[in-house]
Symmetry: C2
Subunit: 411 residues, 2 copies
């Protein structure tokens, strides 16, 4: 039920993971510092560190440029051996596809970017499209022949339960295919799909360490409405949570959403929904394909000037999100809300109706609206989240799991 048999190999793996973990969180550290941080003894640190160095996973940082030269034997900081392995991040959204190759130290090595249009994946099926670009990365970076271990892809939409592809995606012709298997068959890599909303929440945890012990909900407001949820310490709890907040039904048979359903939160709170209400377009009118940022900005300006229709549109949006949070808070206790994306610019206009919606239930009333933080640029937490997912995956599944006989990974 819980875990399987425990033996001494597991001890070592677990302690190796522990060490890579603190190194990942708090820069280069000396053996003693790691010992203190992890609770392991110095003796163990000597052993495991030696193992890591032999295997080429970590290296001694001999930049001796210490701060105030202390007495005693100088400490030697350990740090990631950048050549130990490589990761590839793929950020995929409705408009672009960006591949970033990074080394084990998290340093950018190569980058490929291309535009995505509704016809992109009709012309070249997604697995093929991605394989071609990955091949380009391999060709341009010969050093990673067998050292590219893991590919992390950020997507939006609904995953198959086994994570092999998408059941639904806002990107045309992207859903319905097995993405993971063809890539894993062609290249010697582990491929994983991650939901953008979830990455946002994870990324925020790395960017704001004080969130560690809280349940965090991130809400993206922009051309869509997305959410991510992460739970304290549930590092391993990778089940598909915070899935499609934007497509939670706010009002049965309500406004028409891009997804085809009626009454989704998104249909009221995404840019196109706000635009529609602000210009009193009937709520059943099919949504605009894309809203130019200027148009959205203009509605904000109008609302600030007191325009009734614009104010009303933001009220509807706030209310949709507020009730959505309300419904969420009927299920979890949420410790912190982070709102990201272009919608943050209009947060003040939505606040009162958002709060009203969020607190109008038993749970919402008792617990109140949790503290809210605004983060205008959503791409940073997504990138950070994706990066850390890939690196910790490498830490855990490749380098922590190596046994003593393992060959050195570096030349």
């Amino acid at each position: 039920m819980a875990r399987g048999v425990a033996d001494t190999e597991m001890i070592r793996r677990q302690n190796r993971e522990l060490i890579l973990g603190v190194l990942r969180r708090s820069g280069p550290l000396s053996r003693s510092e790691i010992a203190i941080e992890t609770g392991l003894s110095n003796a163990t640190l000597t052993t495991i560190a030696a193992e890591f160095v032999t295997q080429g996973v970590l290296i001694d940082l001999d930049a001796p440029a210490e701060e105030a030269k202390a007495r005693g034997r100088p400490s030697v900081k350990l740090t990631h051996n950048r050549k130990a392995g490589y990761i590839l991040l793929i950020e995929l959204d409705v408009t672009r596809c960006r591949l970033s190759l990074l080394d084990y130290g998290g340093v950018l090595v190569d980058r490929v970017e291309s535009a995505v249009t509704p016809s992109t994946f009709a012309e070249s099926p997604a697995p093929h499209y991605l394989a071609e670009r990955i091949q380009l990365i391999y060709t341009r970076n010969t050093e990673l022949a067998d050292r590219l271990y893991t590919v992390a892809i950020s997507v939006q939409g609904i995953l198959y339960p086994d994570g092999s592809g998408m059941k639904w995606s806002p990107i045309a012709h992207f859903a319905g295919l097995d993405i993971v298997s063809p890539l894993q068959a062609r290249f010697p890599i582990t491929v994983k799909l991650y939901k953008r909303g979830r990455l946002m929440a994870d990324g925020m945890r790395w960017l704001e360490p004080e969130l560690t012990h809280k349940t965090v909900a991130t809400v993206f407001i922009g051309s869509t409405v997305g959410m991510g949820l992460t739970f304290p310490d549930a590092d391993r709890f990778d089940s598909d949570i915070g899935t499609e907040f934007g497509h939670m039904i706010h009002i049965p048979d309500g406004a028409l959403c891009r997804c085809g359903a009626h009454g989704c939160i998104e249909a009221y709170a995404a840019d196109y929904g706000i635009l529609r209400s602000a210009y009193s377009v009937p709520a059943r009118t099919p949504p605009a394909h894309a809203v130019p940022p200027g148009d959205f900005q203009q509605i904000i300006t109008q609302a600030r000037l007191g325009d009734r229709n614009a104010l009303h549109a933001f009220n509807l949006a706030g209310s949709a999100i507020g009730y959505g949070l309300n419904r969420l808070m009927s299920i979890f206790e949420i410790g912190r809300i982070i709102i990201l994306g272009p919608g943050t610019a209009a947060y003040d206009l939505m606040l009162s109706s958002l709060r009203e919606g969020a607190t109008s239930s038993l749970m919402g009333g008792i617990n109140g609206l949790p503290p809210v933080t605004l983060v205008a640029d959503a791409s940073e937490p997504v990138y950070r989240g994706l990066l850390m997912k890939a690196l910790t995956e490498l830490d855990r599944n490749v380098f922590a799991a190596m046994n003593q006989q393992a060959q050195s990974v570096a030349e």
Copy 2:
């Protein structure tokens, strides 16, 4: 971040837990059977089993009444030493309070039952009331002087984040007090509060083992609407999930709920809500205090005879629950729905509107309504859930954690 330092003591604790776990799941087993089941070697089983027997946690079952006498050395089944420890279960709801004392083998030893009324906890504060009854159990069962380890209490309502008491409870004067600390101060026991909805879901997992790898949502429909959610393998994931489904807002500013808010699911789908709609009582009318089972049954009968108002009431109820599930399914993927309680009798009357509500969104439409099971008697899974919580708590925190020097627990 993950776990702490791993050492050899942890190995032993973990393997002990593993053994107690399979024993808990699959009756008495011989050492070899346990070895096969857990993956541990026979040698290890000899060692650990000897330890357990010395400590009085397990005993050799010498009932030799084997089935077909096989050749070879006969196997000796290990089973729980019933005298190793005791647990106390307290089921508390709006009408009664029942204490059940069980031994480590799960056998009922003593039981105390009393009625609860709205004035009960006004006259005797809850911690005092419970302490008195626990004292009675101690007095009547002298053998458990220092062998009662854990008390598990089933409650309804909203817990404090630290689990020490209730923020809100449907039982008058029960909320707002620290329940756990006074009891732990007075008796040498571990006290924990568990939410009834959650126990239902957990209990169903024990009753139907094929649920193991699914996300299960249990929905109680009766005088309230409650929910429990459990996730596959998330044995340890004890955070407070599935909290107040019944008080999720279905329709903003809708029907008046017992909790004082407007538009809760409960206000449409609990017995009082159905009654109210069936008799066309205005939805803002304060709900009846308790609905006699006969009255509820009568509405079912009327609906089956084609009474429009009764049918409409069940439609509203089904719709409320359907949209609630819909909203839930926008956040998790749910693999199985189990409906419990008196409301199951009217499930067929609610089904079409329930399904319509559940599948009207993007997620609901794509995934469809998961398989639904009906269980009329909700008290069995609650009791089972509570029992297994207490026993596994004992297994894990007391008996798995004992070290080699530990004294024997049995005389």
